[in-house]
Symmetry: C3
Subunit: 311 residues, 3 copies
Amino acid sequence: MLPRHILRVDQFSRGDLLQLLAHSAEMRRVVAAGGDKRLDGKILATLFFEPSTRTRLSFESSMLRLGGNVISSESAEHTSSAVKGESIEDTIRIVEAYADAIAIRHPLAGAAETAASVASVPILNAGDGPREHPTQALLDLYTIYDELGRIDDLTVALVGDLRFGRAPRSLAMLLTRTENARVLLVAPPGIEMSGDVLAYMETHGVAWEQLHDLEEALPRADVIYMTRVQKERFPSVESYRRVSGSYRLGSEHMKLLGENAIVMHPLPRVDEIDTLVDADPRAAYFRQARNGVYIRMALLDLLLGPRLLTA
Amino acid sequence: MLPRHILRVDQFSRGDLLQLLAHSAEMRRVVAAGGDKRLDGKILATLFFEPSTRTRLSFESSMLRLGGNVISSESAEHTSSAVKGESIEDTIRIVEAYADAIAIRHPLAGAAETAASVASVPILNAGDGPREHPTQALLDLYTIYDELGRIDDLTVALVGDLRFGRAPRSLAMLLTRTENARVLLVAPPGIEMSGDVLAYMETHGVAWEQLHDLEEALPRADVIYMTRVQKERFPSVESYRRVSGSYRLGSEHMKLLGENAIVMHPLPRVDEIDTLVDADPRAAYFRQARNGVYIRMALLDLLLGPRLLTA
Amino acid sequence: MLPRHILRVDQFSRGDLLQLLAHSAEMRRVVAAGGDKRLDGKILATLFFEPSTRTRLSFESSMLRLGGNVISSESAEHTSSAVKGESIEDTIRIVEAYADAIAIRHPLAGAAETAASVASVPILNAGDGPREHPTQALLDLYTIYDELGRIDDLTVALVGDLRFGRAPRSLAMLLTRTENARVLLVAPPGIEMSGDVLAYMETHGVAWEQLHDLEEALPRADVIYMTRVQKERFPSVESYRRVSGSYRLGSEHMKLLGENAIVMHPLPRVDEIDTLVDADPRAAYFRQARNGVYIRMALLDLLLGPRLLTA
């Protein structure tokens, strides 16, 4: 059913997603019951050519919770044969001799597809540069599903850096698989959502509008998806200071947000959500991080597990 | 019984310590019998924001010997979201989604307590800057217990850098939980034991005296606890050279040491114990390193294991 | 039967090798059957004081395929107590408290022997500087055995950097344990095979000749063993360019190679084998990488496993 490699969000049909969400919910029950042994004897290699402790540990925890094993390279950019000029293709052809699946993180756009083009084992894209980070988008959708009980009829506000942030781009694309979605775009000038994603949403029937104000979005949204606005995107510290305050969520904003709405963030956070918000039950971002384990377990199980158990 | 997080030595009452020492002895038997599966399905995360291969591998070996699993960050200071400005609190709230316990090492004093203040899983302090390294102190006490058969009525000589070394400070504090302890302090001028620890010993009934000579301490001590005197602590290489020789243990000193006494060292050693001493049966420092596994197994088992087995 | 530590290729008699090759073939069947639990409860420490993701992951995969566990230091040169001046001997005496075997990689020639001189657990040399990398040589021999069905009556062409490359040196030495071997040496001036290895082959009855041309070797060889010619070995980029082309294998060369011959390479490859060659069934280098798992499983099993199972 599922694609053989997990590379991009546009690989997933609505049917795939519904299956995956249901299977992730099952994985949550597996963890609550103390884990499982269905991937006993299987090995996942995590090959990180760019640091990301959080994503790596999430993949590794997912594999272990299902009884599998892990081999890992935390800083492959310094320690692997890539230093000597080895191609990604060669690296994969070697590492697939050691593992039953490979989660790869690489600074180069398209690196995961290159890996998949030669791999005889499943490749899981754990982020390839500015391009894709599909498991993040999938866990975001699962979080919505788990928190709100549905993936349809949603108004989702994407806030912050919508141009360079992979997470809001991917979530916007994934929302085209849901019904009757509306996306509110709240970004500083210069880092608005790019035209290709806007066109993709339009083609697939997702309504969108650009707002200037977080305050405007709050009362209307089912989901506030915050992201970090990085200083480096701005021509001067001045121009950064002028806008960044408008894209920070404080506890005063929570009064404007609907009772059943949630706040999400791909994390890490710096100061774009005040820590005072953390105690609010609608602050879903730490639960969201936890959901990464369930989604990755579901993917690993569907890719590697015995079919009978995963049907 | 035990505290929920292992943060400081002063958390442990005499009763706690006696329980822990007995449980560590039990863990030694578990290892001798080829390990155990009582933590099957549990995951320990080792988050090291400062390098320490030895401490990390000791924690990881302890978890594996009990049938548990490990996820690990060897250089979290370079690879984790801390680089992007994430707080320790946020890091912990995310990693606790991946693991059942977290061993953290951090250069900042108090980092482990900060971690524990938000954690829903047990935090084990694997060293927070100059402050505390409680599992080192506990394995030191276990070594004394295992080697000498008792923790009371001891004369312990602490030798070397007593100001900046965490290990002798913590051991001195832990000795307040034993009866009738006497501490001999042998340190170069400028790096003597600091006043707070002297006061703490006094308040809790531990007798101490300052000696100038290692030779003076040797015939009186049940335990010689050596530590490294670092060049960097001295104003000049000259002044370092003048004193450092007096805090080195050579094979000639072993004649002055009692037949049933032992030599300990938190390791790594550079040249403060002559390698000729290694063959002496009273040289306990490599056995001491091994005891780290038993103490950490005991802690992990008491924190994570089924209560029935650990009672 | 086997040596207690795996340090150098000259430790292995012909009888040892035949046993090891047979056991590696058995390990291939174990992997095909989904792995095994015969090293359940055992721990392998991989201590890498020099980066080599490929070798480290191969050792770790081998241990996991047999049901064992792994503790690992990817960059021990930065994170271990070696930074503080600890000797290799002390490091080993500590790490052996955490593991049942230690695979060590170190930039210093002889480091593995130093480790073995104090170790109470088996040491596996995963490469000690320019000196030895015995598991590479053993997997090379296993590849020949597996691909050609024999280790005797072979003509092996070693091509490229024969002076500084550990792999061709070690393979040449290992061929002295086979019968009726002939070695063709094809190297640029200045980096020819060194005299000690030539003498060793002569003493042990291996015929060798030096050729100037890869083309000359191709029709005669059962095995073409390619290695990388590194720019840094040459006095100028000019002189490198002049020769390097003659030591590259392109698809045009494959017509000159015998139908049953194979091409090997220790990898990583940069451009010394054209990627067009990869699809040729005689291109054995990726299968060779895979064989590293079987050889290392065989060694770990023979060193750590229950004797009955490994007889």
